[in-house]
Structures are given as structure tokens and as C-alpha cells.
């Protein structure tokens, strides 16, 4: 972590206290793991940060870890899904990732009050993983048809797709 990232993380820790579970670095840069319920507070704190305002929410994405320990032999992750918020500060040219874990069926708080880009990004996550976002103004499927029953990026969805005959017929 460089000096700028360290000071951002320090300020975040003092603002959120025990809600921050972990801070680590990997191939993405600095990743801050928070409780799922603390995501809105974290985003708000980072967006209104005085010296490095993270005003660009570049992306929201999820990973389905349900096949992880089976494929790698590593210990199972804390929950089924992880959500990643890719934040960037244009003025300070600093990137930060927020990570939050959730189980299947659990709803995540929406980031739409803070970033307009969260609208479509969360719709994609909802469409592809079936993760609901509470407080989202318009949570519809974005890519797949409305009567499509599956969430294609879940690991149990077959890579070759489903048989067209499985589609509900009108």
C-alpha cells in the first residue's frame, strides 16, 4: 500500500470501526472486506472522503464460490457469493475494492443512492447471479428474457446452456 492508500484505509477504519473485517492486497490492489450491512456506509464514507474522493464506481460484480473447494481443494470460502465494488478516485488516481460476502437468498443493500452507475451494474448481478438488492429502484433482468428461470453465471448452470424445450411455452 502506498501512503495515499494507507491514509484512506486509516480514515475508513476510524469512521466505520469494527465493521471492517479485513484489509488486504492482491492482484487488484487494496481490497477492504466489510460486513454486508456496512456497504452503504463504506461507500458513502469513501465517496465523501476529503482528500481522495472515490467518485467513480467503475463496476459492481459478484463471484459464485460454490465450486471453489471442490475444484481447488482449498478451504471453503466464508459464504457462497462475494460482491466486489470497484471504486476509483479520479483526482487522486487511486483504486480501491470493497468486498462483502453473502449467502444464497440474502439481499444486498443497493448502492444506487450514492452512484448512478450502480443501477445497471446491480441489475447485471441480479440477472446473472440472482442476488437481490434491497432499495434498488428498478430491479429487472437486464440481459436475459424476463421469463428465463435461471441465473446463468451461477456455477450449477450448465456451460452449454439449457435445452430450449425447457423454456416456458406460451
Amino acid at each position: 500500500m502506498n501512503r495515499q492508500e494507507t491514509s484512506v484505509v486509516e480514515r475508513l477504519k476510524s469512521a466505520l470501526g469494527g465493521k471492517i473485517q479485513d484489509v488486504y492486497e492482491d492482484g487488484r490492489g487494496v481490497v477492504v472486506r466489510v460486513e454486508l450491512s456496512a456497504v452503504p456506509d463504506t461507500l458513502e464514507a469513501l465517496r465523501s472522503d476529503a482528500s481522495t474522493p472515490f467518485n467513480l464506481l467503475a463496476d459492481v460484480t459478484a463471484v459464485d464460490w460454490s465450486r471453489w473447494s471442490e475444484e481447488t481443494g482449498m478451504k471453503p470460502p466464508p459464504a457462497r457469493f462475494s460482491l466486489y465494488y470497484n471504486l476509483y478516485s479520479i483526482s487522486a488516481t487511486t483504486r480501491l475494492f470493497i468486498e462483502a460476502w453473502l449467502e444464497d437468498g440474502q439481499a444486498a443493500p443497493s448502492a444506487t443512492p450514492f452512484y448512478a452507475s450502480a443501477d445497471w451494474a446491480e441489475r447485471t448481478v441480479f440477472d446473472m447471479f440472482g442476488i437481490r438488492f434491497s432499495g434498488h429502484p428498478d430491479l429487472r433482468r437486464i440481459y436475459m428474457p424476463d421469463d428465463f428461470e435461471y441465473s446463468p453465471l451461477r456455477k450449477e448452470f450448465p456451460r452449454r446452456g439449457v435445452d430450449p424445450q425447457d423454456f416456458p411455452q406460451e
Binding site: 492482491d26 492482484g27 487488484r28 490492489g29 467518485n55 467513480l56 464506481l57 467503475a58 463496476d59 460484480t61 463471484v63 459464485d64 471453489w68 475444484e71 481447488t72 482449498m74 466486489y84 470497484n86 479520479i90 488516481t93 483504486r95 475494492f97 452512484y115 448512478a116 452507475s117 443501477d119 445497471w120 451494474a121 446473472m128 437486464i142 440481459y143 436475459m144 428474457p145 446463468p152 453465471l153 448452470f157 456451460r159 446452456g161
Partner: protein, 407 residues
């Protein structure tokens, strides 16, 4: 207020018709959408009262496909993201892979990647600018831009063998070195034409009254809103925010290059148009500088885990043959548990790849941060309350590439 004279029944009916809202479907197969996307408009007369968008007509499930393809095969997935500036996607994908594998690319490969990326960027901007003019009703600039795009595609074909789906990068470098005569062709045929076409566009359009009326103040967005919508690239720079991944986080050889980041003032269609024009000039400058500094040497990293052995070894030694077989049939394996994100400046903005590795030759999860997706999400905000005729002008100036929208 009542009309001074009682209106005829026919007149009343006409007024009722105007007051009635009309639903208009624009797309998914309309020539001015430049791709398969659907815009559902609620019109009051010719004014757009409500705008809703529907995408997904070109959704191919690339992120799911990537989970079944090796790291070298996935370059074909990146080909189909932004099909107008394919080489930049190739670089973006393999740059993320190289970060995952911990490989440094040799200098000649980084310079060649820089040159080819900029040629692809110019081609992409031409695909945006020409049809943008046609949609507004100016046909002449289209022929200049399309000719330049043709020259750019000829050059890409000369190097990579393909006009659009180049698939030319590999983990650790390039599929091959540039053929002899590449530098001369770029310098003699291409670069003078770039400057000439940009000057033509400037002189044809920048002071043209009709063009100004159709584009100035049309589809404008403020800096704060553009950032909030996740805009990047020329569209964001047209709003006055000088964010360019090539400068903010220099990759390839951009750190050694001297170039400007053009920014607009009002964030409208006019600014987006001329930011792209100026960017093409800067791309030409980058290509000139990259050729003057182009080093000699190999175009692939000296790393036996990922790079194919020399042909002499393959045909001469059993170890070389096995090595070749392993890389071709199974592909390189990434370290287990590694996650990485890397982004490049695509023609439309920040193009980022997230890879989660499970230690096999295929990604556990691949995610694309595509610039078009976020740019297009602001369309209802840009056109609501404006005339229907502004819609094609705005959509074309955003350079919506359906392949990047849908993944």
C-alpha cells in the same frame, strides 16, 4: 385560457391526437442504432417524454464461456467485446493474464502493442464519427472517415492477418513479429492521411451552422453526473474530466510517450465529436513516437511456462515437442487463488478485466468492465425532454457498440 373562437371538430381532433402519448420502438434492428439495442420511447408530439432501454439482444454469455476456455483461447472472447477496436481488447485481456501469471512482456512487444492499439483506436473513432455525421444528415465526412478506417484495417490485416477479429496477443507477448515494411506503410500511407482527414473534419464541420445547431447543447451531461454514471473515455473527457487510463496508470509504452489528453467543456454531442477528432491526432503522435523508439528483440517473454518453444526445438527434440504439445493442448496454468484486475484505455473508455484463478488452465471467473455499458445507461437522462431527431445524434456520439454492451 379559452380559444377566442370555437374550434372546428376536425381541429379539436387533431389537437387531441397531439396530446395523446405515443409509444415508439426504436430498434432492435434500426439502422441508426448501430447495433442490436432497443429504445422504447413515449412521445408527446415529437418530444421524448419517457425513454426506456432494453439490451441483451447480442448477449452471448462471454463471461460464462471464459470459464471453459484456456487463457490463450479467451483472446477470441475479447475479440468480440468491442468489435471495432479489437486489438485494444486483446491487449486488455492478456495484460490482465500477464499480471496474474507475473510475466513481464519484452519491450518490442509492448511497443508493437502500443502502435497497434492506437491504430485500432483511430479505426474505432472513425466508426463513431462517420456514422454520427450520417445520422445527423451530413454524408460527405463519412467517406473521409470510412476511407481512413479502411486504411487502418488494411494495416491491421497486414500485421495480424485479420481485419476485425485479430486475436493477435498471447500470454507473454504477441503471436508474431510485425512483417517487414510495416513501419514504412504506416508512415507513408496511414499517418499523413490521419492528419489530413482530421483537418477535413475540422474544416467541414466545426463552423458548419447546421452541424452546430444539431449538436451543440444536445445530449449534454455535467461532470458530476457523468462520473456518477460511471462514464469513462472520450465521453467523460468531453464533459471536462481529464481521466485517461493511459495517463493515470501508464501501461504498455504510454509512460514514455508525449501526448495530450483533449477535454471538452460542455459534455454535449459537439464536444464528444471533436474530442474524438483530437484524440486521433494524438494517437498519430503516439504512433510516430513509438516507431522512433521501437526496440529490437523478441516479441515474446522468455518464460517456458507460457511461451511456445522455437520450431527447431519442436521438430528436433522430444522435450520440445512435449513442451509445444502441453502449451497448445492444455495452455498455461495460473497460480491458484490469485485474483487480479487490470484495465486499459479502450476506444470508449476504461476496459477492465477481472480474473479469478483456481489454479487450472481456465479462469474460475472472468468479468469484463465494459465502458459502453455504463455510457449507455445514461441515455434516458440525456434524451428525455428533447426532440426525437436528437436521439440518433446522441446515440451515435456515445459510440454504442452492442458487443461491448451485452458481453
Amino acid at each position: 385560457m379559452k380559444a377566442p373562437f370555437p374550434r372546428s371538430i376536425e381541429c379539436e381532433q387533431k389537437l387531441d391526437l397531439c396530446a395523446e402519448r405515443m409509444i415508439l420502438n426504436w430498434g432492435p434492428a434500426h439502422p441508426a442504432t448501430h447495433g442490436t439495442l432497443r429504445v422504447i420511447l413515449t412521445l408527446e408530439g415529437e418530444t421524448i417524454a419517457k425513454c426506456d432501454t432494453e439490451i441483451g439482444y447480442l448477449h452471448r454469455g462471454l463471461e460464462k464461456l471464459a470459464e471453459d476456455w484456456t487463457y490463450n483461447q479467451c483472446v477470441n472472447i475479447s475479440d468480440r467485446i468491442n468489435y471495432c477496436s479489437v486489438f485494444i481488447n486483446n491487449v486488455g485481456w492478456h495484460q490482465a493474464c500477464e499480471k496474474l501469471f507475473g510475466i513481464r512482456v519484452p519491450p518490442r512487444a509492448t511497443y508493437l502493442r502500443t502502435i497497434l492499439s492506437e491504430i485500432a483506436r483511430i479505426a474505432d473513432h472513425m466508426v463513431c464519427l462517420g456514422p454520427n455525421c450520417v445520422d445527423i444528415g451530413v454524408l460527405t465526412p463519412f467517406w473521409y472517415t470510412w476511407n481512413l478506417r479502411e486504411l487502418a484495417y488494411d494495416l491491421l490485416e497486414f500485421v495480424t492477418g485479420a481485419r476485425m477479429t485479430t486475436a493477435f496477443t498471447r500470454v507473454g507477448g504477441l503471436a508474431a513479429d510485425a512483417p517487414a515494411g510495416f513501419e514504412e506503410r504506416v508512415k507513408q500511407e496511414f499517418l499523413p492521411e490521419v492528419y489530413r482527414v482530421m483537418d477535413e473534419l475540422d474544416s467541414l464541420l466545426s463552423k458548419n451552422r447546421i452541424f452546430n445547431d444539431r449538436t451543440r447543447g444536445v445530449g449534454a451531461l455535467s461532470q458530476e453526473e457523468a462520473v456518477s454514471y460511471g462514464w469513462t473515455g472520450p465521453c467523460l473527457r468531453a464533459c471536462g474530466v481529464a481521466y485517461d487510463v493511459r495517463v493515470a496508470n501508464p501501461y504498455l509504452a504510454y509512460g514514455d510517450m508525449d501526448f495530450d489528453v483533449p477535454v471538452g467543456e460542455h459534455g454535449d454531442t459537439y464536444d464528444r465529436f471533436f474530442v474524438r477528432v483530437e484524440e486521433c491526432r494524438q494517437s498519430a503522435r503516439i504512433i510516430e513516437q513509438a516507431f522512433s523508439k521501437l526496440p529490437d528483440g523478441p516479441v515474446n517473454a522468455d518464460d517456458k511456462r507460457v511461451v511456445l518453444p522455437a520450431k527447431g526445438d519442436v521438430y528436433g527434440h522430444i522435450e520440445g515437442l512435449i513442451h509445444h504439445f502441453e502449451i497448445v493442448m492444455f495452455g498455461p496454468r495460473a497460480p491458484v487463488g490469485a485474483i487480479c484486475y487490470d484495465s486499459v484505455e479502450g476506444a470508449n473508455g476504461e476496459l477492465g478485466f477481472t480474473i479469478v484463478s483456481n489454479g487450472t488452465n481456465k479462469p474460475y471467473r472472468m468479468h469484463v468492465r465494459s465502458p459502453c455499458f455504463h455510457v449507455f445507461s445514461a441515455l434516458p437522462r440525456l434524451v428525455t425532454g428533447r426532440l426525437l431527431a436528437d436521439l440518433p445524434a446522441v446515440v451515435a456520439s456515445l459510440n454504442i457498440i452492442a458487443g461491448e454492451l451485452d458481453l
